[in-house]
């Protein structure tokens, strides 16, 4: 009859074990210091070329100079990064402007720390592009009206860029259809004819162009040239408890972005080494701008258009207050 007792003890033990696991899974907001006195922080981001400066900053010791031991964690899409920042899994996270605005508009306790990237003004130089098959019969942007475009996340920055770009060019964007696909799957879908055009970002743009797909336009360059397209943010909780770390991260990022702007070859090199991008692709892919821009105007512009296009239901009220540090 010991079996029943043993069973109950096992059950109780499992209960405690389970509870402990669950509790530890809920992230805490205290900062961790490692053996060298550097603060350990992890940054969540997406495996796109805009993240390369982070690795550059680690390699060049810029983060170390500011007292930070940085670790980069890749997530599937910007929408997955923000929850990880809020739950404490990552201390900082990258998300594009529209995702940030969506979260902030819904009242999530997020704070913007620093700018990440911006589209070029010339569209050949930009790291995003809309591609079509050469035999599609679509030669100009106006041919895309009413077509099915693949974006990596629905109701997100791709749509905002494309809709505004079309509006600027006088093309109707109401009839557009959208299909959500991860970047690596886009070329195949285009080939199969599942979609008419793909909105794709480096490092997937260059290989797709190498496959013969035609670059029709760059929506970002058209719609929001040189306006910040993504930010690093942190949770309100973390910022309140660790203002120095947040400040250190921001100051480090100013240096990192500057450095990346002036050393594009090093950016390409680190993309190959740390991000597993093919050397050939890294050589030929286009890099976005890495600005140090705290201007709220870009944010306001994005918010305005996103709400207008029905992508955001509400915009934040006080834009200045969204930033973690005001200098």
């Amino acid at each position: 009859m010991t079996t029943t007792r043993t069973r109950r003890t096992t059950g109780l033990g499992a209960l405690l074990l389970g509870a402990t696991t669950l509790l530890t899974a809920c992230g805490g907001a205290a900062s961790q210091e490692n053996a060298e006195g550097l603060t350990e922080v992890s940054v969540g981001t997406i495996p796109a070329v805009l993240s390369a400066p982070l690795f550059l900053g680690i390699e060049e010791g810029i983060f170390e100079e500011h007292g930070l031991d940085l670790e980069v964690n890749f997530a599937d899409g910007g929408a997955a990064v923000i929850p990880s920042v809020l739950s404490g899994e990552n201390q900082f996270g990258y998300s594009n402007t529209v995702s940030q605005l969506a979260a902030l508009g819904e009242g999530l306790p997020l704070e913007i720390v620093h700018s990440s990237w911006a589209p070029h003004a010339e569209f050949e130089d930009d790291d995003h592009g809309i591609l079509v098959r050469p035999d599609s019969g679509i030669d100009e942007p106006s041919g895309l009206a009413g077509k099915n475009i693949a974006v990596n996340t629905l109701q997100n920055i791709g749509e905002v860029h494309i809709r505004k770009a079309f509006e600027d060019l006088g093309i109707d964007h109401e009839g557009l259809q959208w299909t959500q696909l991860p970047f690596p799957d886009m070329a195949e879908a285009l080939e199969r004819g599942d979609v008419d055009a793909i909105w794709v970002s480096e490092p997937f743009r260059t290989p797709a162009m190498n496959q013969g797909y035609e670059l029709l336009m760059s929506a970002g360059a058209q719609a929001f040239p040189e306006q910040v397209g993504g930010y690093y943010s942190t949770s309100e909780q973390y910022a309140a408890q660790n203002p120095d770390v947040v400040k250190a991260f921001k100051e480090a990022m100013v240096e990192v972005n500057d450095f990346a702007e002036h050393n594009p070859d090093l950016v390409r090199q680190v993309a190959v080494e740390e991000m597993g991008i093919d050397e050939d692709v890294a050589e030929r892919m286009t890099l976005p701008l890495f600005p140090n821009d705290d201007d709220v105007e870009a944010l306001q512009s994005y918010a305005e258009y996103a709400v207008r296009f029905g992508i955001l239901s509400k915009a934040p009220e006080d834009f200045e207050a969204l930033f973690a540090t005001q200098d």
Partner: protein, 262 residues
């Protein structure tokens, strides 16, 4: 205390206590979340509002319709194939012996592990969903049918042979009614599985449906909409399971009036 214990022993007593329990639970949720500032757990009134609002719009109905359509199609396919193959396996011993290990292996594969496989074949869309739901719901039906077919009362079998009833007639009029209770058990297990596959495939490989709405709402941080989707899904799951249990009871009584309810 004694009144409580005695009241539980009558069906009506239990129903009353149960109703009280349900109301208390709902009331508690309502009161606790009413002034909720927490973004992740919005106030129940807000959720209910949104549920009433969104799911009656054209878009909401379209998503709901898409989910129900694919679920029904997938389940039908799974049931039809499950019964057909199950009958074969159950009645032909040599087929069963031959296929059994392969079947055991295929069955052990968690249905959701096949999502990438289905997406590879059918891309993003309804066919992926239907395929997955059919594949997942096939197994419980197949196994239960086979089991039932294997255990058909020899008296029935012998009578059929004596009256020279064979082939299709035998299957339709003797085998299937005899196996029906087991088939119904299989379907009962298949339904929640189908629901899970429906939601999961909508979260990954679809542009429409309940799972899609829930995931999209989460991606755009519209948590109230997300919760309304969860509520609708809960209600759907409950209704379908409940409706089926009624159907099952009716069918069982019709197939064998002498039978006591299992």
């Amino acid at each position: 205390m004694t009144t409580l214990t005695t009241s539980v022993s009558t069906a009506r007593g239990r129903a009353v206590i149960g109703a009280a329990g349900a109301l208390t639970a709902l009331g508690a949720w309502f009161m606790l979340s009413r002034g909720s500032e927490n973004v992740y757990f919005p106030a129940l009134p807000a959720i209910l509002d949104e549920t009433w609002e969104y799911w009656r719009t054209a878009e909401g109905l379209r998503n709901l319709g898409a989910s129900l359509t694919t679920l029904s199609l997938g389940l039908c396919l799974g049931i039809v194939f499950g019964v057909a193959i199950g009958l074969v396996i159950g009645q032909l011993t040599f087929v069963e012996q031959a296929i059994s290990p392969a079947l055991e292996f295929a069955r052990a594969i968690p249905a959701t592990a096949l999502i990438p496989f289905a997406m590879m074949l059918f891309g993003v869309g309804d066919n992926t969903k239907i395929f997955l739901i059919a594949l997942g719901s096939l197994w419980p039906v197949l196994l239960n049918t086979a089991d039932g077919a294997r255990r058909i009362d020899p008296t029935l079998r012998d009578s059929a042979r004596a009256f020279r009833i064979a082939g299709f007639q035998r299957q339709a009029f003797i085998v299937v009614p005899a196996v029906l209770p087991r088939i119904l058990v299989g379907i009962r297990i298949a339904i929640p599985l189908g629901l899970i596959l429906m939601v999961t495939s909508e979260m990954v490989g679809a542009q429409e449906g309940l799972g899609f709405v829930i995931t999209q709402a989460q991606a755009t941080f519209q948590l109230v909409t997300m919760w309304s989707g969860i509520v609708v899904l809960g209600v759907l799951g409950f209704s379908i399971t409940f409706a089926y249990s009624l159907l099952e009871r009716v069918l069982l009584r019709w197939s064998d009036p002498r039978r006591e309810d299992a």
